[in-house]
Point group: C2
Chain length 481, copies 2
């Protein structure tokens, strides 16, 4: 299936000029290949977990670099195989020369994720842990980092393994009954089995319920900012980002895609979508015809609607939101530019929570506001993006809308859609098993349902896996990991 007899090699540090680069080799010949080109010591005589300084020369005796080589001996390495890590000067020319030399001496270029795949195949980690390595490297926020790290350290694996073990014990009893098919015995206590399945279904359901949150944390939470022209959206966006930007820009190389800005609130990434289409034309949203804009709105978890408190009244706000709102969307309504009001009234009080409100253009506002609240919409008044009033309130509201009390990073959170699907499969199989048990159907069918369920759970940790599955998982890794 997979050729583990090759020795693989790749650059494990990012491309580009740097002080050092690290080239990793793994496999039977990792140490002997290095030994052939390394001058300074006999590497094969060195202990595991030691570092050695020397030069690497090519066949012409020309020095390519002075390097440090780390030795890790099977099975005490990342991959479980003999591993050498060559730390060289971070010149692209040198790295290229070294890679070529190692290949010439018998190593093969590693495929994306192949080191981690070997770690999995050699039993150093299960599949969900291996997947977490890629998530960990890609993690941009505290929360996504926590979830990935917890998964890498066996969080979900342990839960799944426990569930599986209990099922396996029962399945064994049922399978045993089948062997005695003619004799009509019951080794497996049906009542106990039912209770077990109910318990496991509940546990799986709990895990399934964490997926929406886990996925949002992993991917970031899409948040659309909408509002009429001059509602102060840009100012609000800048004010929101300003404090955050210092932190973001510290982390160089943070990639940004089509989405314009990312905002980090208490370790959660919000992807702020502020398309020109929406910016300019909430009023004629159907007319714009910018499908991409609509699509983005539809994909968003949160709609942040900003209006100018001096110009608009609640019914107009309601009209706009009703055009943008989609089922399941969370809505945050922001009454902006209240500094104007402060200036007029010389004291910090919104005209949306005092008697002034009654003098608002539309007398129905109280009823509409109540409707918003009933729908779960959140209203933040007294905001001035310009003067930085109540910006923290907006951040807290965004965080609460997205995460609320749900986040407890010490418990297991499912953030991987492959795991989610497998859990769903396991859940449905157990449901079927329960149904078959209740209707007194033959043990054959119950045994089959439980086996299906076991397979689904086994897919998560990789106890059940296929070449296609592994290929698809590890191809998403970076080279050198």
């Amino acid at each position: 299936m997979y050729n583990l007899s090759d020795t693989i090699v790749a650059l494990s540090t990012p491309q580009g000029e740097g002080a050092i680069g690290v080239i990793r080799l793994s496999g039977n010949k990792a140490i002997s290949i290095c030994d052939e080109v390394f001058f300074g010591k006999n590497l094969s005589k060195q202990k595991s977990h030691t570092l050695h300084f020397g030069t690497i020369k090519n066949d012409d005796g020309k020095i390519i670099d002075e390097v440090l080589i780390s030795i890790f001996k099977n099975p005490h390495s990342y991959t479980g195989e003999d591993v050498c890590e060559v730390s060289c000067h971070g010149s692209q020319y040198i790295i290229q020369q070294l890679l070529q030399l190692f290949i010439q001496k018998g190593a093969r270029t590693a495929k994306a994720g192949e080191f981690t795949m070997r770690a999995f195949l050699n039993g150093k980690m299960d599949l969900s842990q291996a997947e977490a390595v890629a998530d960990l490297i890609a993690s941009e926020s505290e929360a996504s980092h926590s979830i990935a790290l917890q998964q890498m350290r066996g969080g979900i694996s342990n839960e799944i393994k426990n569930l599986r073990q209990e099922l396996i014990d029962f399945a064994a009893l049922i399978e045993l009954e089948l062997d005695f098919g003619e004799e009509d015995v019951e080794f497996a206590d049906r009542e106990k089995l039912k209770n077990l399945i109910i318990k496991i279904k509940k546990l799986i359901q709990n895990l399934l319920q964490t997926f929406e949150l886990g996925n949002a944390i992993k991917q970031g939470i899409n948040t659309v900012i909408a509002g009429r022209p001059n509602a102060g959206k840009s100012t609000l966006l800048n004010t929101l980002l300003q404090e955050d930007r210092a932190i973001v820009s510290d982390i160089e190389g943070t990639t940004r895609d089509v989405i314009e800005e990312t905002l980090n609130i208490q370790g959660i990434t919000f992807r702020l979508i502020d398309t020109a289409g929406l910016r300019e034309a909430t009023d004629t949203i159907e007319a714009i015809g910018i499908e991409k804009t609509i699509e983005k709105v539809n994909q968003s978890a949160i709609l942040m609607y900003v209006f100018d408190s001096m110009k608009m009244d609640i019914p107009e706000v309601e009209k706009d939101i009703s055009k943008l709102y989609k089922e399941g969307m969370k809505v945050l309504i922001i009454s902006n530019k209240e500094d104007m009001y402060y200036e007029m009234h010389d004291h910090p009080k919104s005209h949306y929570n005092q008697e002034q409100v009654t003098k608002s253009k539309n007398e129905n506002w109280d009823k509409i506001y109540q409707e918003f609240k009933n729908k779960g919409f959140v209203f933040v008044a007294n905001v001035s993006a310009k003067k930085n009033y109540n910006i923290d309130k907006i951040k807290n509201s965004l965080y609460n809308l997205a995460i609320g009390e749900k986040l407890n990073t010490s418990s297991t959170i499912v953030a991987n859609s492959r795991h989610y699907e497998a859990l769903q499969g396991a859940f449905e199989s157990l449901d079927q098993a329960l149904h078959n048990l209740s209707s007194g159907i033959s043990g054959d069918f119950v045994a089959m349902d439980i086996r299906h369920s076991l397979n689904y759970l086994g897919e998560i940790t990789g106890e059940i896996s296929s070449e296609d599955l592994l290929d698809s998982i590890f191809s998403r890794f970076c080279i050198g990991k």
Copy 2:
């Protein structure tokens, strides 16, 4: 002068997402700082050159990453101090968190080149070796890599140290004479001193003479391609680059600046300058007024002039070249599009080296061709960029024009302009000493000249250095080295 009591920290691998990142700490507290946050082993009890797996936690007990820590104990490290290298998952978030944690525990962010500066200050390498580290990281070609490596391994340092030692011995004798000033004794044999100075001057001159080559290799050799419209310059450029491009693109991250293309011939980088201005208007070169173009031509070491063999004759070629030629420039003249001639005559023979030539538009060609040869211009005939005829001849000619027989990477080559200037200073001081010796001037002056000369030589290896000099040298390094 420099604070070596701080413990410094920086990311030593390139920015960006990768399988692993390496954070380096150096200083008295490197190990104790790591120990405070590392869980798995007591690092302070471990031997030098060993690797340790464990987790790093922040003060809240939250795991930031699973890491491998390499320990190098003073003086057996790159900097000569205690050094820890923390190999973590290559996530920007994790790297940022770890750096913050180390700083919180008492480390300080390292300045550019500060690790190497410490290696110098702690006597692990001299200044020219330290400078070579930066050159090595920046090296893009085999030749520049060889020069940097040779310098890093003490090439120029050893030469300078030998010269200095001989001078110091003599200087000591002269200084001794001065102590006995009243007694009019001569400890230092004037004749021997003269011969020594002459010998050393010669050695310095040899080194100075390598600078043009060394600098060209380090920077790459600027080569202008010129010719009239439709002479086939673009095709030639593509043909030249085509074979090379496979190699270049292997080395990802190779940076390109304003210069359009780089061509690697036998390990030497040629920077091909093919400006539109020159491309279109060799005929009216003075009229173009593109100063930048003229400037580039002036800076170029080689002029590669291409003409269409079917259309142009030698006198026209001569006219164009005389407009572009500057003193000291090397010239390569290429007679292109000879495939047309082959098609016409059905055998591979240029009309520039056979009787057809006499039928050329201008009967003077032989005389002009001879003049070209006398000036050292090189003429490559029989070229077809389109059909790939004699492209290797062009490459060999370029290499020979630029490097010739001069390149012997086992001998010392000066590639650093600071070293060049210091050598020049030393040379001039010795010249003055020789002059003063010959004119029988008092030993005081000779001693002063020799001291100047010693200072200049000492600047190269850093035995004589100033804070400003060190700042200017190390600020050109990348962070983390």
